[in-house]
């Protein structure tokens, strides 16, 4: 908790000293950290492969943007963020319900379908800009907010995993039938995991909207979901530190690659991502960290159980 406060304060104080390029990159990185860890909660920790994370992000983005357009006072930003998260979380609940009957591959397809339907919905919603998008969103996001959100996300998930409900998530991932045999209401916890993961995606979407100041349905495509999935898989499904690390890495990667690119920016990045994923699955499917955390690898004295 101290770390959370420290990081936030430090960022607030340091912000004026960071160049605007790095400011933008770090802000984006922070948003990706929130996104990746939200998906990690659903897919890595609870083991429910979700291909529709962009959909939750979209809901959070649109909900909070709409609110901010009505109440643009920066003091309301926190409220706007929370609203985005809550709306997304509510949809997460909705998406969690099919998990009652679907497993693995089928569930993944349904999550993809839901996400696409959400996107089509926004495409057809004239009041939110439709295909032309929603412009002139107040630029409330800054690095301090993003660091706060990222730190809060990590803090929350970390504490969550040390509780009996967090362990229930893990049990579901490991073996759902055995989890049920141990008295875990797997449906309830699966829905919970979708809802929580969606909440974080929603907050990330809200931060994103207020950073870019313009959103449109074409941002929240399956490609976006895939990018987030790549981050989680690369870092290791189930590892907080892994997801965080690879979120940051993959945010900076396109910039590193820029000098190499003569053709369309997006294409090369996606080719690398998809190749990366395939090679990863063939060689080291557990990702960089596997299911472990970086602090488990450091041999410092263990606190008494």
């Amino acid at each position: 908790m101290i770390a959370l406060a420290a990081a936030t304060i430090a960022t607030y104080l340091l912000t004026p000293y960071i160049s605007s390029f790095y400011l933008q990159m770090l802000t984006l990185a922070g948003i990706n950290v929130v996104l990746a860890n939200g998906l990690n909660l659903i897919s890595g920790i609870t083991g429910q492969l979700s291909l529709g994370h962009a959909g939750f992000m979209a809901i959070g983005a649109y909900a909070s943007a709409y609110f901010s357009l009505q109440y643009s006072d920066p003091n309301y930003f926190l409220l706007s963020l929370l609203l985005g998260g809550l709306f997304a979380g509510a949809f997460g609940l909705l998406l969690g319900l099919p998990t009652l009957r679907l497993k693995g591959d089928y569930l993944a397809i349904v999550t993809l379908g839901f996400s696409e339907m959400i996107r089509v919905l926004f495409l057809n919603m004239g009041s939110l800009g439709g295909a032309r998008g929603l412009p002139q969103i107040p630029h409330h996001t800054n690095l301090t907010w993003v660091v706060f959100a990222a730190a809060a996300t990590l803090f929350f998930i970390h504490r969550w995993m040390n509780s009996y409900f967090g362990r229930a998530f893990l049990a579901i991932r490991e073996d759902e039938m055995a989890a049920q045999s141990c008295g875990v209401n797997t449906t309830k916890y699966k829905v919970m995991s979708f809802s929580l993961g969606a909440f974080f995606a929603g907050v990330a979407g809200a931060l994103f909207a207020h950073q870019l100041t313009y959103i449109s349905p074409s941002i929240f495509t399956f490609t976006k979901s895939f990018e987030i999935l790549t981050m989680v898989v690369l870092g290791g499904l189930g590892s907080l530190s892994g997801a965080t690390f690879s979120a940051i890495l993959l945010t900076f990667l396109p910039e590193v690659l820029r000098p190499l690119q003569q053709i369309t920016h997006i294409d090369l990045r996606m080719i690398i991502y998809s190749l990366l994923l395939i090679i990863l699955m063939l060689t080291r499917p557990t990702g960089i960290m596997g299911k472990r955390e970086i602090w488990e690898l450091i041999p410092w004295p263990k606190r008494k159980a």
């Binding site: 083991g47 492969l49 291909l51 099919p98 009957r101 679907l102 693995g104 591959d105 089928y106 993944a108 397809i109 349904v110 379908g113 839901f114 696409e116 339907m117 089509v120 057809n124 039938m177 490609t223 895939f226 999935l229 898989v233 499904l237 053709i263 369309t264 294409d267 090369l268 996606m270 080719i271 991502y273 998809s274 190749l275 990366l276 994923l277 395939i278 699955m281 063939l282 499917p285």
Partner: protein, 300 residues
């Protein structure tokens, strides 16, 4: 009434295309229990192979059935090879890996094909050259049946019947069905599982390639992402019919084609694609085994 008939004809041709692609999904799922995300993109490759071949051979200056068949057969062969490579490189090594791993790989493969295609072919849509002239065959008042419709349905039907013969009346087909039931036992009985699986992939890919050429011929606009939505729809069709079940895939394809055409005609064109997802989600929630599928409970 006449309009309705026209829509039926259109829907039937569209459905035949979906059926061809759906068969590929169902075959691979039946034999490997894997959803081959990349299948829709093989269809796209088929269309592009046809495009480049026609240009290379200068076939648009002599449109004819012969031209068409040259393009069709070549494209199917190239796609078959592609199918073989995909299985060999990306799926075979993961045969015993957890399902999530294989699924992620399939997704990666699909995106790889799409974006490499964009890189190599250029992202802009291209016009498929006319390898076969359009001719109206019948006309009752407002309703017209042209040779394109007939071509799609007849080619699809022929290929499907060939496949059916292969599956039901040959040793290969028997081996394929055995592997679908239990791969370990099949291999213990001396069935060359790897070879059969490769051939299955090749067959499915060839069918997708054929669909690609048919679509290119009839609706001449092609682009590297053309496989995404039809792929999803064909997959939905396979699920509706009962994934793993061949007649089911055909039935599902026809249903998908007809309902899409009807929705576009009588409700709204902008909801064509949403329909496919809606149907898929509906079926998965209500009867995941589809029309003809088997309920496969987890063994405890």
């Amino acid at each position: 009434m006449e309009n309705f008939l026209q829509h039926c004809i259109n829907g039937l041709s569209l459905g035949s295309i979906y059926a061809l692609i759906a068969l590929g999904y169902t075959m691979v799922f039946g034999i490997l229990k894997l959803i081959n995300f990349a299948h829709g993109d093989v269809y796209m490759v088929g269309a592009f192979v046809g495009y480049y071949l026609s240009a290379f051979l200068g076939l648009q200056s002599q449109p004819s059935m012969v031209s068409f068949f040259i393009v069709l057969v070549t494209s199917m062969s190239v796609c078959a090879i592609l199918g073989f490579l995909i299985e060999r490189i990306a799926y075979r090594p993961l045969r015993s890996s957890p399902r999530i791993t294989a699924l992620i790989t399939a997704i990666g493969m699909s995106l790889l094909l799409e974006y490499v295609a964009q890189l190599v072919f250029g992202p802009d849509p291209k016009v498929f050259p006319m390898v076969l002239e359009r001719r109206d065959l019948f006309q009752f008042g407002e309703v017209s049946l042209n040779n394109y419709h007939a071509l799609i349905v007849s080619v699809s039907l022929t290929l499907m019947l060939l496949l059916r013969f292969l599956v039901l009346h040959t040793k290969f087909g028997k081996a394929m069905r055995a592997i679908s039931e239990d791969i370990t036992t099949a291999s213990l009985l001396g069935i060359p599982t790897n070879r059969i699986i490769s051939i299955t992939f090749m067959l499915g890919a060839a069918l997708a390639g054929a669909a690609g050429v048919l679509v290119g011929t009839v609706y001449p606009r092609i682009d590297p992402l053309m496989g995404v939505i039809p792929g999803m729809k064909a997959f939905s069709a396979a699920v509706i019919g009962g994934i793993g079940n061949f007649p089911g895939a055909v039935l599902g394809g026809i249903i998908m084609g007809l309902s899409e055409e009807m929705v576009a005609a009588y409700i709204s064109s902008s909801y064509r694609d949403a329909l496919a997802f809606g149907l898929l989600i509906f079926i998965l929630l209500v009867k995941p085994s589809g029309f003809f599928g088997k309920y496969q409970p987890e063994k405890v």
